[in-house]
């Protein structure tokens, strides 16, 4: 009992010190000019109104979810409906997840169409779904291609490939992803087809930015060189040459485009 009383008193003392004095002192430190910007969320304003945070990514899509072509597009996001800071997180699908494979294929195809390049990837059908067969002894079924679609291959290992019937039960088949002939290094970069860990990634890879430059320049009626110059200016290189990976801040880049 004496222990429990001491424990309670110790908890109270440490709560006052570590739970109130320490964080409130840090809040006070965060009011110092120079620190107050970052301590309050590194907000960016335009015409006096906050339009976002330098550190938090945004969606650049219209009400229907279609990309706004005048803006550079961010990575896919699993935070809420996309870039929602009140519901952060990742997609959490595993490396053999057929759901994630479908998402990757669909994103790749969509980005390819938007940017006018080949959106094909290994293990994806030309139609932008996962190239996955359920293989039976005498036939195979393309699981992601519902009838009446024509399957991405006619035969597999000597047996005919059929489209998937809505009422079909294909659990008995051996699930087999098919590599296909897409190049090892697809035209659409990896970060463009994968969701980030936070769902708020403010950056895209320089490769993804360069891919988008031509479209943005065309829609805005400006030269591609000028867009490339802005990309350059908003690219963060590796700190000290080896910390992290280079990234392009999408919000700042789009703001700079709007502000020209």
């Amino acid at each position: 009992m004496r222990n429990h009383l001491a424990a309670l008193r110790a908890l109270l003392v440490f709560t006052l010190l570590l739970g109130l004095a320490y964080p409130l002192a840090l809040v006070a430190v965060g009011r110092i000019p120079g620190l107050s910007g970052p301590a309050d969320g590194s907000l960016v304003t335009r015409d006096g109104r906050p339009v976002g945070s330098v550190l938090i990514g945004q969606s650049f899509v219209d009400g229907a979810g279609n990309p706004l072509p005048r803006y550079f597009q961010s990575r896919p996001s699993a935070a809420g409906e996309g870039y929602d800071p009140t519901a952060t997180g990742a997609g959490n699908q595993g490396p053999e997840s057929l759901k994630l494979l479908n998402e990757v294929c669909a994103r790749s195809r969509a980005v390819g169409e938007l940017e006018g390049v080949d959106g094909g990837r290994p293990y994806c059908t030309p139609g932008g779904v996962g190239a996955v067969l359920a293989v039976f002894p005498d036939h195979a079924v393309s699981l992601n291609e519902a009838c009446p679609a024509t399957p991405f291959v006619a035969t597999y290992g000597g047996v005919p490939v059929e489209c998937a019937r809505p009422d079909g039960d294909y659990r008995a088949g051996i699930v087999t992803p098919v590599r296909g002939s897409a190049p090892e290094r697809p035209a659409v970069p990896a970060d463009a087809v994968t969701a980030s860990g936070s769902g708020l990634d403010p950056h895209i890879s320089p490769a993804y930015a360069h891919l988008q430059a031509r479209r943005v320049a065309r829609v805005r009626g400006i030269s591609e060189q000028e867009v490339e110059r802005l990309i350059e200016r908003h690219t963060t290189a590796r700190a000290l040459g080896f910390l992290g990976e280079p990234g392009v801040n999408v919000l700042l880049l789009n703001l700079a485009l709007d502000g020209r």
Binding site: N3, H4, A6, A7, R9, A10, L11, F14, G19, L20, P23, L26, V27, G30, L35, P38, D40, G41, V51, G52, S53, L55, Q58, F60, D62, L68, Y71, Y83, P85, T86, A87, T88, G89, A90, N92, Q93, G94, P95, E96, L100, L101, V104, R121, Y123, C124, R179, D191, V193, S196, G197, S198, L200, S205, R238, A239, G241, F242, L243, G244, E245
Partner: protein, 553 residues
């Protein structure tokens, strides 16, 4: 420079930094826990707590104080969450429901920081800073205090006194944790980690939508979350969130903080037993395992295998652009090796083998270098087992740092070693036999089993890392994982203190020609081998059904 080279330099610079601080910070830790004089602030704390700092405790007294402090902390944190809607800064969050509040309370008190809740939508700022973050400090101090008491078992002779828990707790908080966490918090703040009491700022985005840029006292919590090897994020996305870990260099700082105390405690061991080489040997075992593990995760992530990584061309799913794949992999390895459980990328989407290694890291028992304090006492138990195994080979009574390892000592050490594997395997088996628990898996097939195995491994070893797809906010998981965390923390602590009590009573054994030298590379290799073999034998069948089946399909 390719990502692999940059990732190698990242690891190398961290290793170099730890090598450089091993001696000075280890000395500082040593003096903090052994200095005879109390500071004025400390004396004030002892007066307020109502304890006599000169009154030392037996192993039983020490254990009772640890358990009392942890029990009171758990109840207080539970109640705190249950009434948060009535308190200042609740931000309109409702009371946390009972099973979840229990899970969260035991999670933070046991230094696990498993989170079945999403910070930004569950907890008000007051619970975060005055409830959860306080436990981040004191649970790390409890672990370190137990490690120090255990070392006293080796260092002292013919006594039943292991020190005062209240003095150790207070000194570790005031002399070690707070002085490091405060400047680290300011550095993080300068980089963009928020520190305010606001609910957030609503902004109108460029595309014409709205976005809430969240606020909160994050920087202070973030610093101790890493330093105390806790890992419980302010936000659901943890260290992947730009407001917790905004830049590549804060990523480096976060990992340095994680490694600092666990890697420097062996120095305290060496100093207290009067032979610095003994500490260095323990640190060498930790470093060997850590380097192998970091290299393995990097290799699996940078050369991705599996359908989705091959389709993408890189293991970028669940990773942030600013960190890249390699420095995410290193973060995954080091936070699972240290019982931190913070994530800057999401392990559920790792390649099958890249996700296997973090799981094995936890299964090692969190010893390489493990959590604040818990890593050292876990590793010393493995050293005791190793001298016993070596003693069996040559047929003499084993001894370690001049203490005999007899039947009583081996009983405690063996029970220690059996506790967490029993919790992991029984817990996973129970979950897999319940339809509700299986329904919580986000992935099917072997990956689903990996999710459940990962959860019980993480909880029982007090890590807190997650394959986050598993829907763990159910009564079953909240209760079962909560029990695993409690038993996985306190049974080992009681066993370690009992072992310490038994060692402290002994006469020292004079070293002879037959004594196994425990500071040489041979012994380092033996402890490393024992650690790996014990894990392999225990967990290989379960791993074969999960990540191995997935990786070698």
């Amino acid at each position: 420079m390719g990502p692999g080279v940059a990732g190698g330099l990242f690891v190398g610079s961290l290793a170099l930094a730890i090598v450089l601080v091993y001696r000075p910070f280890g000395e500082y830790l040593y003096r903090s826990v052994t200095a005879p004089a109390h500071t004025r602030v400390e004396r004030t704390v002892y007066r307020l707590v109502g304890v006599d700092p000169e009154r030392e405790q037996s192993w039983g007294g020490y254990a009772r104080a640890v358990l009392a402090f942890s029990a009171v902390s758990t109840i207080a944190l539970y109640l705190f969450q249950r009434v948060q809607q009535h308190l200042w800064l609740s931000l309109g969050n409702a009371a946390v429901e009972p099973a979840r509040a229990w899970n969260t309370a035991i999670s933070f008190v046991t230094n696990t920081n498993w989170q079945s809740y999403s910070g930004e939508s569950t907890m008000g700022h007051l619970v975060q800073m005055a409830g959860l973050a306080v436990q981040n400090f004191v649970s790390a101090a409890v672990g370190t205090a137990v490690a120090v008491a255990f070392i006293r078992g080796f260092a002292r002779t013919r006594t039943d006194r292991l020190g005062s828990f209240w003095v150790d707790l207070t000194r570790i908080v005031l002399r070690v944790l707070l002085p490091v966490a405060a400047p680290a918090a300011v550095a993080l703040m300068a980089a963009g980690v928020v520190q305010n009491l606001g609910a957030g700022t609503d902004v109108g985005t460029l595309a014409g939508g709205t976005q809430t840029v969240t606020g909160g006292p994050v920087a202070g919590q973030e610093a101790i979350k890493q330093l105390g090897t806790n890992g419980g994020g302010f936000y659901n996305a943890n260290s992947a969130h730009p407001f917790e870990n905004p830049t590549a260099w804060t990523n480096w700082i976060q990992l340095f903080l994680v490694l600092l105390i666990p890697f420097c405690l062996p120095r305290v061991f060496g100093r207290m037993v009067g032979d610095k080489r003994q500490g260095l040997a323990i640190a060498a075992v930790m470093a060997t395992l850590a380097i192998l593990s970091v290299a393995a995760v990097n290799a699996f992530q940078l050369n991705p295998s599996g359908t989705v990584p091959a389709a993408v061309g890189a293991a970028t799913e669940g990773t942030e652009t600013r960190f890249g794949v390699s420095q995410s992999a290193t973060f995954a390895a080091l936070t699972t090796l240290t019982s931190t459980g913070a994530v800057n990328s999401f392990h559920d989407s790792y390649t099958a083998l890249g996700g296997l290694v973090p799981m094995v890291n936890m299964m090692l028992g969190e010893v390489a270098p493990g959590g604040a304090g818990s890593g050292l006492y876990g590793m010393l138990v493995l050293a005791v087992i190793t001298v016993f195994v070596a003693g069996l080979m040559v047929g003499r009574t084993p001894e370690y740092v001049r203490k005999k390892i007899g039947a009583r000592e081996m009983t405690f050490a063996s029970l220690y070693l059996l506790t967490t594997p029993a919790l992991v395997l029984v817990g996973t088996a129970v979950a897999m036999s319940c339809a509700d628990a299986r329904a919580a898996m986000a992935n099917d097939g072997p990956h689903g089993l990996s999710e459940v195995l990962y959860a019980f491994t993480s909880a029982s070893n007090n890590n807190g890392s997650a394959f986050a797809g598993l829907g763990v906010d159910t009564t079953f998981y909240n209760t079962a994982l909560g029990l695993c965390m409690a038993f996985g923390r306190f049974l080992p602590i009681v066993l370690v203190l009992a072992l310490a009590g038994s060692l402290a009573r002994q006469h020292p054994v004079p070293a002879s020609v037959g004594t196994l030298p425990t500071h040489r590379p041979l012994f380092v290799g033996m402890v490393t081998g024992v650690t790996v073999i014990v894990v392999a034998l225990t967990f290989l069948p379960a791993l074969a059904l999960g990540p191995l089946a997935e990786g070698f399909r």
